[in-house]
Amino acid sequence: MTYVAQPASVGMIMGKVLLALGLGIAAYVIYFGPAILVSLTLASLAALACEALVLRLRGYVIAPFLKDGSALVTAWLLALSMPPLAPWWLVVAGTAFAIVVAKHLYGGLGNNLFNPAMAGYVLLLVSFPSHMTQWPAAEMLAHAHLSLLDAAIYIFTGHLPAGVTLDAITMATPLDMLKTQLKLGHTVNEVTRAPLYGYLGGRGSEVIAAAWLVGGLILLKQRVITWHVPVAMLAALFAAALWFHVYDPDRYVAPWFHLATGGAMLGAFFIATDPVTGPTTPMGKLIFGAAIGLLVYLIRTFGGYPDGVAFAVLIMNMAVPLIDLYTQPRVIGHDSKKSDRS
């Protein structure tokens, strides 16, 4: 038996993920106001409460599982995917679905087939589309600013401060606007000249994407994740976008725009890399990541939703057992030509 162990634990891994998310959250607060902090806190409390409740119902020891941090990671990823000004019950409902149904009804930590945060997000997106598309405008574009307290009051009661209208603080997202304007016959070049757009992606949101990228590189350096999924996903997204962009630059936006907007970076480094719901073999991770990248592009460009990360991840989650089965690496001492399953 093995008497020694590396000083690593599930809790430490999840803690590193939360820390690496911190950078992007800071950028979020700077560019879109402090409302995100309210929904992050709300989702965290809801997740911990649900986790404790279900563990108790299942007759598990609660403390070591609560301390593993996995519920918090789910809560944060869900909150970061949602519009920060979404009403409190939406956040709670999404978190509860993620923890209770997507995680524990599948067997709890390590057993779930679908990424819980994305399952919760998609449930909300298809059930409450109007609430889920109310995104705040970046601070420099908004006509009014909400303080932390104002945001909390709005999230819990739905009341805005006197003189502030919803239109003054919300705005279409860069991806959404691009989609609708292209349908109206505008060219990419005309659309992206709007103040909503920055150098690469949306104003403000491109900085947040950069922060997710840095956080992801930290996770790579810390060996929390491997390079396979993020590189494959971003490369596939880039390649697909490049192909169409070269074909018709007026109708298909540049590949770097795709990397710098929406959930691409967050998805590549923090969501698609979820070990529980992803493949385990190196080759499988490459296939999984590339397929997600491709699906994201297809959904964004031809689908009914402005962004496609959540759907792409969930769809590919279903394929994981099959991917693992057919990508088993050659075991040392075995013939490379002969398949082990034959």
């Binding site: 038996m1 093995t2 390590g110 690496p329």
Partner: protein, 545 residues
Amino acid sequence: MRRLYGFPGGVHPPEHKTESSGRPIAPAPLPARLVVPLLQHIGNPAKPVVQPGQKVLKGELIGKADGYISVSVHAPTSGTVRAVEPHPVPHPSGLPALCVVIEADGEERWVEKTPIDYLHLDPSEVRNRLRDMGLAGLGGAVFPTYVKLNPIPERSVPTLVLNGCECEPWITCDDRLMQERAPSIVAGARIMRHLLDAREVIVAIEDNKAEAIAAMREACRDTDFEVVVVPTLYPSGSGKQLIQLLTGREVPSGGRSTDVGVQVFNVGTAHALDRAVNHGEPLISRIVTVTGNVRRPQNFEAPLGMPLAELVTLAGTPREDTTGYIMGGPMMGFDLNSDQVPVVKAMNCVIARSERLFPPLPLPLPCIRCTRCAQVCPVRLQPQDLYWFARAKNFGKAQEHNLFDCIECGCCAYVCPSHIPLVDYYRFAKSEIWAREREKKAADRARERHEFRLQRLEREKKERAEKLAQKAVASKDTAAMPNPDAQAKRAAIQAAIERARAKQAGIEPRNVSQLPPDKLKEIQEIEARRAKLREAMQKQPGDTP
């Protein structure tokens, strides 16, 4: 410079080598009583050849090799055999095994030492002598050395590797041996090379043993042996991994190192070979690292059979918070269930445990498929899948995913953030599969026996019927004629009976190979009485029909 190829995975746990590597090897004082197990190697236990009360000399044979995979066992000192009986031995099962208990007389009188003239003797004769001198691998697996020195004629072994890697934490017995007795190791390697007819000899040492590297380089100066420094990475000391590291060749699954033309021996084995061949000394002692929660960690040259309790006190009285002893290293070793077990050929290291040095691992959490285990697996298995199959008792699937390629190095368990004792699951699955295989074989045999019996009954019935028919015809044809055939037949029957009787007399009773000598003696006496009785019966021909 030799090009190194590397192997996948591997880990680098804290080394803990300096605790015991600084002090020279000390000879252990002779204990008053030695308990020498008859099974200290892989294979069949040796057959006891001594009886209680018998005097033995140092190096005298006390157990004879039994079968192809077996080696002999010798008295570690001169004295009197007190008993041949089961005793606790160092084994994970904790089951007692047959041992020869010797009371030392303190005189250390040797049997006559007869060195082996390996350059002039027939190689097979040399190998038989090595078997009779008790040589087994001292790296921990204790495989009979003479078997490994027997290359199959059609498969040559061009490369001989001396393994001085010692990659497990805490253990330093090979390190010290190389520092202090490098010339003897080289002398042993010469013998190995001669018997294997190897073209090249590589001494592989991990780069954390600078003094050992220097000493071995010095000892190899007048030879064409090559000392190769390999990076410190666990489990580079494992045979297959070392071969891959040095040659880039993979030992085929289920195959042996000779399949890729390499034979690997531990440096301690080479030293023991030198003592046996050039000095005529059978394997009766070994270097043991005593370390961990002891006051003066050190390596000792201990006689086989020395009680563990006496060995560990050589490193100072055990600290109060000692909770037990690990045999081997912390990656692959196991708990000794008693401090009364003896030193054996496989005991390279004893680590005193304490909660401070080896804190209990936290409660295992579920596997999150993080694949850290797969990243460090030197065989490139998918440990997280094997764990899943073993847990679900889906043994067929586990086998399909190459469970039996697992070398149980423990890298996966070492890095698991959920602290799952992965290797324990693989051992469980392997033993279950073995047990099922045995059951299946037994059932197959029983079925075959049953079918054979039915066939035999059928055949006998048919034969009887035929015979009856023939007899009926014969009696009709030759009613009153004297039959010369019948007489010949009768004589043949008589001869057959005689043959059967002679054969019976020659059959040895079974199930006696593992009995202590006093029992054997008793059986022999009974046999003698029986023989006498038989003789007496034959002297009275009138009684026999």
